[in-house]
Amino acid sequence: MDFTVSDVHDLTEIRLSGRMTFTDHNAFRSVIAAMDRPAGHRVVFDLSDLEFVDSTGLGVFFIAHDTARRKDLRLAMQGARDQVHRVFRAANLHGIIPVSA
């Protein structure tokens, strides 16, 4: 899995691409570290280039949600498709991380 982080004002966009599996644990740590932002800050995960997510990858989104709660960030996601979208639907992830337009 690869990822990029771009910051514009109070918005941080984290773009994930490739396959998100349990072998990417180092990248996962970095992704969560990229959420170290002040309270009220917006964080959006762009998943349009993400092809696959396994249960470990899913766990990262739960940690992201928990991190956003603790740091009082406004977390959202967009672009989930195919297998990723199916996994998220099964796990009701949109129930805790809103989908941004």
Binding site: F22, D54, S55, T56, L58, G59, V60, F62, I63, H65, D66, R86, R89, A90, A91, N92, L93, G95, I96
Partner: protein, 406 residues
């Protein structure tokens, strides 16, 4: 001038307890080598002067490393090496052959005969110490690793047996299935190590049984420990909680949210087969979607829901589907849908549904066996994840000796 200043070597691991055997017919060379070894902190040194002496002393002395002169008296060096290597006790012994002006061919022959390394003669102390240190450290690392693996292997073997015993006992399960006019065929295979798959069944009353399947996130020991915790939580559930699927998941979720670490969770599915109302009541927490086989065909159950352990206040929904005689429920862990074949093609939800549909068409009497055979053919038997699969079918009892009492 102290040696430490001339050949400033990193001290590394202390070697004071290592034993080195020197085989050299020259007393002078024995002394020189011994001195170098002393500089390296090795004091347990024995010296022999010829082949027969070497062979007779080595057993009692039990060295960690042998330095043998290529021209050792009364010895054919190559035969000596081969003889030592043929003894399982010296299979891993570092054997350093020390020789002056050895030809390339001789050097190759030494290695082929089992020498570990070659030293020149005369050897400079720095090189001698460096090579001896290297081989001693490597040998001790390998020994430690081997001992650790054995110990952990035994521990994991025990843990794995314990994990397998969490699933319902076969005789109990058979009796339960019999009483409820069901056939329950389970497959529960742990991967190489322990993992987080878990399933169990409950008898609610004369007409209802509950079937619970879960997959704790992560792999290995942490996931297995959480599987044991989940088993304990379930064992403590009062009967009222087991009657209503959403209620059980809500209750489990509250407890797991409190005890699972950040990011840990369990996907789960709980179904209650109610023969009184000919229905299956069920609730899901993100488990792989179960398949329901009915006369009209195969349908997919909605088991969506927030996995257990993420949000304490999460809610779950009980859904329901008809479940009559002849109908069957197929539950499975994601090891099946995420399995990849030789071409790295994943089975997927659709692939699995196709497989099950084929099984019903081609082997209606033993569909799970058919599915698992085809699955193993295509994906092999080495699992990188626990695999759980359950086939639960309602069936009329063909020859009944006594009419039903209801």
């Amino acid at each position: 001038m102290a040696s430490g200043q001339l050949y400033a070597l990193d001290l590394g691991q202390p070697l004071g307890d290592r034993k080195v055997l020197i085989a050299d017919d020259s007393l002078y060379d024995q002394r020189i080598l011994s001195r170098f070894l002393h500089w390296a902190g090795i004091t347990r040194i024995a010296c022999v002067s010829n082949g027969p002496e070497l062979l007779s002393c080595i057993g009692a002395f039990d060295p960690d490393l042998l330095v043998v002169d290529a021209d050792l008296a009364c010895a054919d060096l190559l035969a000596l090496c081969r003889e030592l290597r043929s003894n399982p006790r010296w299979h891993d012994l570092p054997i350093l052959v020390q020789g002056a002006q050895m030809t390339d061919q001789m050097r190759t022959l030494c290695f082929q005969a089992g020498a570990t390394d070659l030293l020149g003669k005369p050897v400079n102390p720095g090189e001698c110490i460096a090579r001896v240190r290297y081989h001693l450290e490597r040998r001790s690392m390998v020994q430690e690793l081997r001992a650790f693996r054995e110990r952990v292997g035994q521990d994991l073997g025990q843990a794995r047996a314990m994990q397998l015993s969490l699933a319902p006992e076969p005789l109990w399960l058979e009796a339960l299935a019999d009483r409820h006019h069901l056939s329950i065929a389970p497959v529960f295979e742990t991967s190489d190590e322990v993992g987080g798959d878990f399933w169990t069944a409950f008898e609610i009353d004369a007409e209802r049984i509950g079937v619970f399947i879960a997959d704790l996130s992560g792999h290995g020991i942490a996931a297995a420990i959480n599987a044991f915790r989940l088993h304990t939580l379930l064992a403590r559930q009062p009967m009222e909680e087991l009657m209503e699927p959403a209620r059980l998941l809500t209750s489990l979720n509250q407890r797991l949210s409190a005890i699972l670490a950040r990011g840990q969770f369990a996907t789960a599915f709980y179904g209650v087969i109610d023969r009184g109302s000919d229905r299956l009541h069920y609730a899901g927490a993100g488990s792989p979607p179960p398949l329901l086989a009915r006369a009209g065909g195969l349908s997919v159950l909605d088991s969506s829901g927030l996995p257990l352990g993420i949000l304490e206040e999460a809610g779950y929904v009980t859904r329901s589907a008809p479940f009559r005689d002849g109908d069957a429920l197929f539950l499975y862990s994601d090891a099946m849908t995420e399995a990849q074949d030789a071409d790295d093609t994943m089975l997927g939800d659709d692939g699995l549904a196709d497989l099950v549909a084929q099984a019903l068409a081609e082997a209606p009497a033993w569909p799970l066996l058919w599915v698992m055979t085809r699955f193993t053919e295509r994906f092999g038997t080495r699992l990188c994840d626990d695999l759980t699969a359950l086939w639960i079918a309602r069936q009329d009892v063909p020859d009944r000796l006594f009419p039903p009492s209801d």
